[in-house]
Symmetry: D5
Subunit: 157 residues, 10 copies
């Protein structure tokens, strides 16, 4: 794991990453076991999403971590992720920067289309899911990211 990241993740998170490495499991494999999408599972590892107790039980078994340790760390009464903050913006890493660039270039076009299709509102980033697929077209591998969120109209009052 990147050293600058290490300072921003809790010991719990680092333990999860190490156990995953030792078990040679991908997020896809863990997600399948948990009945959750791989992106969401990765978000739990990066402390960007909050797992439920049932997820923790399965995770404990899969990664050979004491269940109590996980349930205590992700305590349902006090663990609420402090999201964001893992890297500086603009992101330096080329893979993440490309996503950032897409917003710079296609931000207004996307807003225009969403407004035309839905009205004066937004796509929620909370009631929201993200997926990654590999698609093959014309002998090329292509990355397909699907972002889906509830449409929320601006309230008038």
């Amino acid at each position: 794991m990147n050293p600058s990241l290490k300072g921003k993740l809790s010991p719990l998170s680092i333990k999860l990453f190490e156990a995953k490495k030792e078990k040679k499991l991908t997020f896809a494999e863990i997600g399948e076991k948990l009945g959750k999408d791989e992106v969401w599972v990765a978000a739990v590892f990066y402390e960007q999403a909050k797992p439920e107790e049932s997820d923790l039980v399965k995770l404990g078994v899969l990664l050979d971590i004491q269940e109590n340790y996980l349930i205590n760390s992700f305590d349902v009464h006090t663990y609420f992720p402090n999201r964001g903050g893992l890297f500086d913006l603009p992101p330096a890493d080329p893979l993440i920067y490309r996503l950032y660039e897409i917003i710079q270039v296609y931000g207004y076009p996307l807003k225009a289309i969403i407004n035309e299709k839905f009205g004066d509102g937004i796509m929620s980033a909370i009631d929201f899911t993200a997926n990654v697929e590999k698609v093959e077209k014309d002998d090329q591998e292509r990355v397909k990211i699907t972002l889906e969120g509830k449409y929320l109209p601006f309230k008038k009052w």
Copy 2:
């Protein structure tokens, strides 16, 4: 159009927006006529994409703008969009900010999944398409954005 945007778009772009407003056409309708996706069409209006001559001929007819004017403005030898720069980052507009927030929160999870699925590389933002759909789930309207780009592995040399 937002006044701060006006100072960042050329007279040509402003003319396109005004003609579109007068004709009461949506980007979807224009896109259908051009045989292009609505997001890409909006990107042309915001000077974030470069149209071909065949697009301009159709656009001129549809919006009642002299074809010569368009072909001259989008001159194939000298018009190369200067992309980005339409708004400050982080974006203040809530709709665009939500996209930015998704990167902040899910940036590392998405990188992790893309790396696991594809290897050490990126999703291109150049050999790239974006689409917006309206989907209905559980009596909710949901915004679905699909981003798709060619996978580019880092070259070793």
Copy 3:
């Protein structure tokens, strides 16, 4: 109106402010006529909210502005406010800075209480209302701002 603001508002918005000044109307009075809250009305003037046609009809009468002019400017198909961006952050104006300071100082405490009361989610700033009241306590005038938004739990997927 502040000159730096003027460059960020459209001619329509400036016209609204001038008509309001000439008619010596407060936002409270306009709001009452429109059946809308004064904060929301001010947000329309500052191009931070989108009025409906019925609001425009009443506004036109009240401010003596041609109804067509307003309906055309706030065109239901193309006018979608580009929110935010009216001032730099941190805000220099003392009144607005105090609101910003409240977030700096009480941001984490508010998050902690919302998380404890509601769970892992947010208060929506879209399905949202804001009000201002004057309250008298111990011979003091006090400003009371009420912010109310829908609770949105983070989706798991």
Copy 4:
């Protein structure tokens, strides 16, 4: 607790959070015992507010922390909170960002209404209280935040 936060809080503060977790107490429950609002109590834990000796006596009993330890740490002669600074602005966490966005979007409207209702002055963020309530409307849970501060007119001299 978030690791980036840990570096910004004193050992005392971390001890308070751990005791609270062990005792499985909410800020609301602690506040009730202290006769103080839950937001203010959370502000004490985050070192954004200064407790009085009588608060410390009750807190010591409730959390099973030696009273002397607390009174010495929050020493009445030398402990004056160094407020703010717990996170970077703009805030990355979605819950806190929504508050920030409200200022961006409704900052000028709120200023306009406060000026119209009170005159040329501000709402104090010092002689100030904040509360959080859960309200139910139309089968929705809504977050209601009330900010109340003394009105201070600009002095002329």
Copy 5:
């Protein structure tokens, strides 16, 4: 007047400065006529303070500006200064930078002394006055700036 400043002041403000230059009046002389401190008068010229009608009557006579013009511009119902924003921080001008440097260097020492003398609170910048005097010491001219503001203790709730 500095050209970068000009773009940030309203035509009214520019008119005031020009009239003052033509009349060859200092702020001290204008202040004396208005019965106001020279710093406050300068703040009115820079649109950082709000004059009352009685000030405007005297100002109109003194500067030979139509009284109606002033009263209309500083309209009691709609003119509320949008304070700050005249220069970027850190300030480039050496005179203003020195004030900024004093805060950088002596900010914590001043906080420590105010806390020790008054308790947990602040010096108000709203219920506040500032003065400039020339003092002579040891054959030197020295600038003496006096800042005085109401002490506001943090409220507990």
Copy 6:
């Protein structure tokens, strides 16, 4: 002491603060013993001012710190404070922010008055003193800060 501050002060400085806390001395009391102003004494503690050997002798006695330790730390040949840098600008702490706000709002007015009274020059922040007094007016406690610096005219060459 605030943990973020701790990382910016040397062990010497932290020792001074701890000794002061143990001895229950205010800066005013220490200043009186040293024959120095309390603000300057606080500046020494925050490593923003350089004490002389005679100050160190008195300080050692007063705080029960070995004189040698102090004289060695504040070594006359190598200890030259590296001023500033204790907090980010703009300052988050409300007390210090108010000072910053005063410069934002009254920066140009103060410059105008100093220029009119003295000519083209500055108030030195080096040949400079600062004081804090408590004044009572109309049953109010008011904070009075006096900043005094040598006037330095710009040299022409």
Copy 7:
């Protein structure tokens, strides 16, 4: 190695640099052994490129580091470099700044020429190589950096 860099590199990376120093090998020499360019080898050391297993076997022999240690650290399933982030931009170091300056000054000229020669697209920084040569001209040593990347045209859709 520079101390600020140390905090940004993993223990593995630091071990590589130390072994290289001990063996008194240049990147050119290591590159020759690996059959890779020296710039790419340096990028591996700085954790900006991902080596293959065959590179690690050779590197282990050359630097006398246990092969297992390297292969485990650069684990093919979980090690994906988190690129960038080693220094702040603009770069302070004069050598690196000169490269940055070249982009500032010649950025638009280079874009213009690439657009004229290739069309509306970019030079990939992923399918990309960089080389450094020493050339002698007119009795001068000159640094020659060759950057070469695949041309990627913007997709229309």
Copy 8:
């Protein structure tokens, strides 16, 4: 030309671009006529390089601009380009950003190699040339940028 760029170029520069467009000349063609590289010619158009009188004579003929106009504008005694400043850093345009990213990712590796090959010094960006070539490899078009600058060792004194 991009509108944001227009505000940063002098009328002269805009005239040059318009004449070039009208004459349908590429920078390569202009460069050939001037006996100068196309990148340098583009740099002159963007006011990032200073032409000599002999260049201006040829340029006047080629672009049908009055020679006097050019020679007067690029007056040998007063025209010294104010380089840089044409865009904000980091650059938003994808083509220019890729160059910026190369520095972020390969900055230290390039420094390491230059230091190893040359010693403690830099590549000059002043005694410097840049070229762009199109190369074909494996049926791909590749962009090849060559940067060459004099090696300057740090002086010891």
Copy 9:
């Protein structure tokens, strides 16, 4: 003159530059006539220094500008330069950046030497002069900049 500069200089300043260009005078020649250093004269042109009436009389004659115009513009009662602000920091122009780099690299060494030679104080930038000379050494042209300012010791109080 650079267009971005034009927006930051007053019409007076632009007139001075144009007259200088027409008269084909260098700052050295103007300085000689005024009995002032060329750097200071350039500072007057860039509105970074304040001329005296006697300078204006000579300047009027030399540049063929009406003396009244100059004396009125540089009015002794109201013209006080608003220094700095002509370019963003860090400076993009290579010549000015080199000066900035010298501070980055040699800032602490210079501070160390000044402290050792003078004590705890600064070199004034107000009671200050700057000169530029051309020196020839080993067949090289070298730029020699001399900065000289009054030593100001920090006051203790």
Copy 10:
């Protein structure tokens, strides 16, 4: 030594400073022994310049540090200073800020004079020396800093 500095210097550098303090040597004295200027010697201590082996031999003797230790640390094959980065810009320390201010205020005037005297080029900050002298004028101590660098004309190609 300032604690924030400590984190940016290597253990070697800290050792040098401590040895210098113990030996009660000034940089001037060390420079004299090494036959080098005091500013350059300080730059070595701050890791902003690279010493030669002969310097290290003398330094080891003078400071009583094992010669091997120094030669190994400043290893001729791998030690190349990573210059800059010791403080944030703008510099907070008043002494260093004054140098920064001189660039802000006199940057353009200096550029104008250098361009007039030398042509279109820069003063090198690499082939460069800096000196500090104490001069006495009119019973004042004045700091005189001499910056001298090779003139480099922009190459045309």
